[in-house]
């Protein structure tokens, strides 16, 4: 789960990372009030789960509440890469002397957290890595031992910041790692980490990605989810506990297991079709979950055929078959459904489908044959 800048900064502040004072605002009036309260010049920043908001005009420095009001009026409702701006962050303006880059990220390949520090902040990290190879100091952290001060010293020395900023940046890195662990994040990125004219080192932006699987331990973070920003169908899927990603085509795809569903998308594409979505019912889906999953798929008007690809392990084919039959009945589905059932209790599942004798439900023995049938039906 990605957090907004203002949410991430709130969390970093609790961990002792210096952040400028700021207020979130959902309306022009709130933005003006926030600027009034903060006093002096402020920055009004679009809060969106994507980068590039600066270039898109989503960041404005203004002198006072009136300016903040005008800026918020421009920014709220703005579309930035497909994200509608629903809130702005009004933050005291900072007198920036220098911009650094700092992050702690989960390194999957090394299976350890990786802390990074660079004297070249402000720009995209991929850009730094590409244009200034060697400008990013990196240290891996042993997750059992945790942070130790020498890691901060190494980052400071290797990024060339030790001479004047050593203690300050070492301390920030230690706090960022603590935030990474305490909040169970997979990414904590501060870009820029700014050195101000008065010498203070503060986080001017924050990108924090929390582990969805750990939210049960973090009610505060779970509560930060912006349900208004989610795609309504994806939200519907989330409420029903299935993983759903909307795509462009007309073949609704449903399977069990991310790998199989991805493979199904590929096979549909290979057969000349265009998948309408990715929907993984996960392991061990029960009949009622199948019904709910079909409810999500059929809510997309572009879907012309539904392709059910199940290879049962923990999922039982008879449960899936029961779910399909119930859904067709309850939801009055008239779209063609191509079903391929293999694995645990496959005989029972296939028999249930066959015995029901529904006109719009087609059984196919193989994945490739089923894909071809689905694509043909979509074109019909």
């Amino acid at each position: 789960m990605d957090l907004y800048e203002h949410q991430g900064k709130e969390l970093l502040g609790c961990m002792g990372v210096p952040v400028p004072a700021g207020r979130v605002a959902f309306s022009v009036d709130e933005a003006a009030a926030a600027a009034e309260e903060l006093g002096g010049p402020v920055v009004v920043k679009a809060q969106v789960h994507t980068g590039g908001r600066g270039k898109a005009g989503g960041i404005r420095v203004v002198d006072d509440a009136a300016g903040a009001s005008r800026a918020a009026a421009d920014i709220l409702g703005m579309d930035i890469k497909g994200h509608t701006v629903g809130r702005v962050y009004v933050e005291e303006a900072s007198d920036i002397a220098r911009e650094l880059y700092a992050a702690v990220v989960l390194d999957r390949a090394e299976k350890r957290p990786l802390a990074m520090l660079s004297s070249m902040g402000g720009m995209d990290v991929e850009e730094i890595a590409r244009e200034h190879p060697g400008a990013i100091a990196r240290v891996h952290i042993d997750p059992l031992l945790g942070w130790s001060d020498y890691l901060g010293r190494r980052l400071a020395f290797e990024s060339g910041l030790a001479a004047d900023l050593g203690p300050a940046v070492s301390e920030v890195m230690a706090r960022l790692y603590e935030a990474f662990v305490i909040y169970e994040a997979t990414l904590v990125e501060v870009n820029p980490l700014a050195v101000l004219a008065d010498g203070r080192v503060v986080a001017l932006d924050c990108k924090l990605t929390a582990d969805d699987n750990a939210l049960f331990r973090h009610a505060d973070i779970a509560g930060m989810r912006d349900v208004s920003a989610a795609d309504p169908q994806e939200q519907m899927a989330r409420d029903r506990g299935v993983t759903y990603v909307k795509l462009d085509g007309d073949v609704g795809v449903l399977g069990n297991g991310a790998g199989l569903v991805m493979s199904t998308l590929d096979v549909v594409a290979n057969a000349g079709g265009r998948p309408a979505n990715f929907l993984d019912v996960g392991g061990g889906a029960k009949a009622e979950e199948i019904v709910q999953a079909l409810e999500v798929i059929t809510s997309d008007p572009k879907v012309r055929v539904i392709f059910f690809n199940i290879f049962g392990g923990i999922t039982r084919c008879d449960e899936v078959a029961r779910g399909i039959l119930t859904a067709v009945d309850q939801l009055r589905i008239t779209l063609p459904i191509v079903v391929r059932l293999d694995g645990t209790n496959q005989e029972e599942g296939r028999s249930l489908i066959a015995e029901a004798g529904l006109q719009n439900v087609y059984s196919e023995p193989t994945m490739t044959a089923a894909a071809e049938r689905a694509v043909a039906l979509a074109g019909a």
Binding site: N256, G257, L265, D266
Partner: protein
């Protein structure tokens, strides 16, 4: 002789009195696996269809000499279950549970490595050595004993690929679902290394998916260290960039981690990549000829 599990493995099922735990414990036993104990705290002394239940893994090890654990406990308790198994001296710990926090797995991974314990999973279907033992939730009907080692990040794709092999008359030594999470206990390379040393295994099928760089690493490793033919499959060519596809593991970031990049890396290492599970079956048949 297969890898990791065989007819001599003595298995404890942690969470055996749960719905999935009991269902699969019995399925595994029906297959011939020595499921000799179960653990559910507070239910020690009971039995599940003749399988003795203990309160702690330590007691199960003392009482039944188990060397392999199969974990079905809920995500928030799963790391603790792994630690209990490791501390009790179990050598192979297979975790089916999905949704385990990644920071839990970071710690469990390093803890297990330091103790020389093999973790399989989490968020995986387990593993099967056809004709010998099945430890997990893998449907056995599509497998048959033979010479192909199968290793996969995806559960259902494992079955699909095995199905393609079996219907061509090609059997498997062991099929290992390593799991789709960002941090799993055993990597492709860990499993390839074992297949390389296994006499029964003549060829290997590697089933990958978008996200991470495991497939790329495995390609390089296999080229240098493995003298058995490898065929690969990668899922997710049509997955849209920047979207999370179910597994936390299947996140695309920029160009690295794409199915295309993985296919290129594999082919550059001399590994043939099938365009769908069907073609994978054909390619394996070819390399075995």
């Amino acid at each position: 002789m297969a890898i990791l599990i065989d007819e001599n493995s003595r298995v404890v099922v942690q969470g055996i009195t749960g719905r999935e735990g009991s269902f699969h414990a019995l399925r595994n036993r029906d297959y011939g696996t020595r499921v000799v104990a179960g653990v559910t705290p507070g239910k020690g002394g009971q039995q599940v269809e003749g399988i003795p239940v203990f309160d702690t893994v330590r007691e199960a090890v003392a009482g039944e000499g188990v060397d392999t654990s199969l974990i079905f406990v809920p995500a928030r308790f799963a790391a603790d279950a792994m630690y209990e198994a490791i501390d009790a001296g179990v050598g192979v710990v297979v975790t089916i549970t999905e949704g385990i926090p990644v920071h839990d797995m970071l710690r469990a991974y390093h803890h297990a490595r330091a103790r020389g314990v093999t973790l399989i999973g989490p968020n995986c279907p387990g593993l099967i050595s056809p004709g010998r033992a099945n430890v997990g939730i893998i449907p056995t009907s599509v497998f048959k004993q033979g010479g192909v080692g199968l290793v996969s990040r995806s559960g259902t794709l494992t079955y699909q690929i095995a199905h393609e092999l079996t219907r061509r008359g090609i059997g498997q030594s062991t099929a290992v679902g390593i799991g789709g999470d960002p941090i799993v206990g055993s990597s492709f390379i860990d499993v390839l290394e074992r297949f390389g040393a296994d006499e029964q295994t003549e060829a290997v099928v590697l089933v990958g998916e978008i996200g991470g760089s495991e497939e790329e690493a495995a390609a390089g490793w296999a080229q240098e260290h493995l003298d058995k033919p490898v065929v690969a499959y990668v899922a997710g060519f049509t997955a849209p960039p920047g979207k999370q596809m179910g597994h936390a593991g299947a996140i695309i970031s920029g160009s690295a981690g794409t199915a295309q990049a993985k296919q290129q890396a594999l082919e550059a290492a001399g590994i043939r990549v099938g365009k769908d599970p069907d073609e994978v079956g054909d390619l394996v048949a070819e390399v075995l000829r």
